[in-house]
């Protein structure tokens, strides 16, 4: 993740079920930056994150990484974008550590970040606990720990503080600060004010009115 990294969206439009969710949307984040997506429910925050992750093809416009069209090499783009959605994607029968190890293998990372990932979200004591025994907040922490288990330059977080207590939010802020300090990019959709320093805000409600 070079210091000079830059993630842009130009003229983005998204159509869901025949309805325009957003259009002519632009964003620009550079390495170390944090972009907060705001807007009421249904404003398209989640859709925009899924577009950024390469899960939805934009109806119009392009994602640009370091000046190059991300769509030219979608595999490379998926490798650099780590998406943490609403759902925790946890299997009841697998332990926290098994989830992180699988995720690292899935994304082609080696296992050396597992302990750091468990540590960062206070999961070390829960490493061998099956997901079915975790509380909602612990599940969310396990889902977020994937970001550290398989490092990627862009973090795309959809309501990452949902279900987290104050201590866990602080851990998330620490993880985000460390990621940004290493030149990483974070885009987060959230209602809360968190992890603030130097954050840019994109208001999707304003986009729609325009």
């Amino acid at each position: 993740m070079g210091i000079a990294s830059r993630f842009e969206g130009r003229e983005l439009a998204c159509v869901r079920g025949g309805r325009i969710v957003f259009a002519r949307l632009a964003f620009d984040v550079t390495g170390g930056g944090l972009l907060i997506l705001r807007g009421p429910n249904g404003a398209g925050k989640s859709s925009l994150l899924r577009v950024m992750a390469g899960l939805i093809a934009p109806a119009h416009g392009a994602l640009i990484w370091n000046g190059e069209d991300a769509d030219a090499d979608p595999v490379a783009h998926r490798a650099r974008a780590a998406y943490a959605g609403h759902d925790d994607a946890l299997k009841p029968g697998l332990t926290v550590r098994e989830h992180l190890a699988f995720h690292a293998a899935l994304r082609g990372a080696d296992a050396r970040h597992l302990d750091a990932a468990l540590e960062a979200f206070g999961l070390t004591a829960l490493a061998t606990t099956p997901a079915r025994l975790l509380s909602a907040g612990q599940r969310k922490r396990a889902a977020l720990a994937r970001l550290i288990a398989a490092p990627a330059p862009i973090w795309l977080l959809d309501e990452p503080t949902n279900g987290l207590d104050a201590g866990a939010v602080a851990k998330l802020e620490t993880a985000i600060a460390a990621h940004r300090g290493a030149g990483g990019i974070v885009v987060a959709a959230t209602h809360l004010d968190f992890a603030g320093a130097g954050a840019a805000t994109l208001d999707l409600a304003a986009m729609r009115a325009a």
Partner: protein
């Protein structure tokens, strides 16, 4: 490649930790097959004539039970986003899901088939070929089934839709499997039928990964 192996290992481990799923499927296989003697009468000659067909049709329906949740479970808990969003080719990951499904469902069904065949009075000379048809035909069954499973993600009544998509696709497998065993019982060579059966599985292998990946990308949109 490591991603695919990790996915196979994860699914096999999950199946191992939730053994009630395969136990339910095996119980369905045995119980459903055991209904036929009640329905068509216990005459050994009649049962011997229809035994292969029953074993194959019931195995087919039992396999459908595990296919229904194959991709739907991933979509329900959000794992599908992580699989589609991984940099590994989705075709390879979908194939890995099928390999795991085959290992955890088809292999136990194949192992239970001799019991069901004995119950239905299959002539002894048909047993070896029946096992061969299951080994050669079930990969194709899982692969065609995977296409249906991927297409029915997110659909209401997905199980019924899955059956409607998959059952017509697997008719050729059923025809050649039964023909092979019938040939062996009649003292003829089952080889041509077995080759065609293997060919159908290879055909499914060339087609299914791409069809599954396209359907799964559509499902995450």
């Amino acid at each position: 490649m490591n991603a695919a192996l990790a996915l196979i290992a994860r699914d096999v481990r999950l199946a191992w930790r939730h053994p009630h799923e395969i136990v339910t499927i095996l119980a369905f296989f045995v119980v459903a097959a055991s209904l036929f003697p009640f329905g068509i009468g216990p005459e050994p000659q009649i049962l011997a004539r229809v035994a292969v067909g029953i074993v194959w049709v019931v195995a087919l329906l039992a396999a459908l039970m595990s296919l229904e949740r194959l991709f739907q479970a991933e979509a329900d808990d959000g794992s599908l986003d992580l699989l589609v969003g991984a940099s590994a080719p989705l075709e390879l990951l979908a194939l890995a899901k099928i390999v795991a499904q085959w290992l955890t469902t088809a292999v136990p069904l194949i192992a239970a088939a001799p019991v069901v065949a004995t119950m239905l009075n299959l002539p002894p000379e048909g047993f070896g070929v029946l096992m061969l048809t299951l080994i050669l035909g079930t990969p194709g069954l899982s692969l065609f089934g995977g296409i249906g499973a991927a297409l029915s993600v997110g659909a209401r009544r997905g199980g019924a839709l899955l059956a409607l998509i998959v059952l017509p696709l697997v008719v050729p497998i059923l025809i050649f499997a039964v023909a092979a065993v019938d040939a062996a019982i009649a003292g003829l060579s089952p080889r041509p039928h077995l080759f065609l059966l293997a060919g159908l599985s290879v055909f499914a292998l060339t087609l299914a990964p791409f069809a599954m990946a396209a359907a799964l990308r559509q499902a995450t949109e």
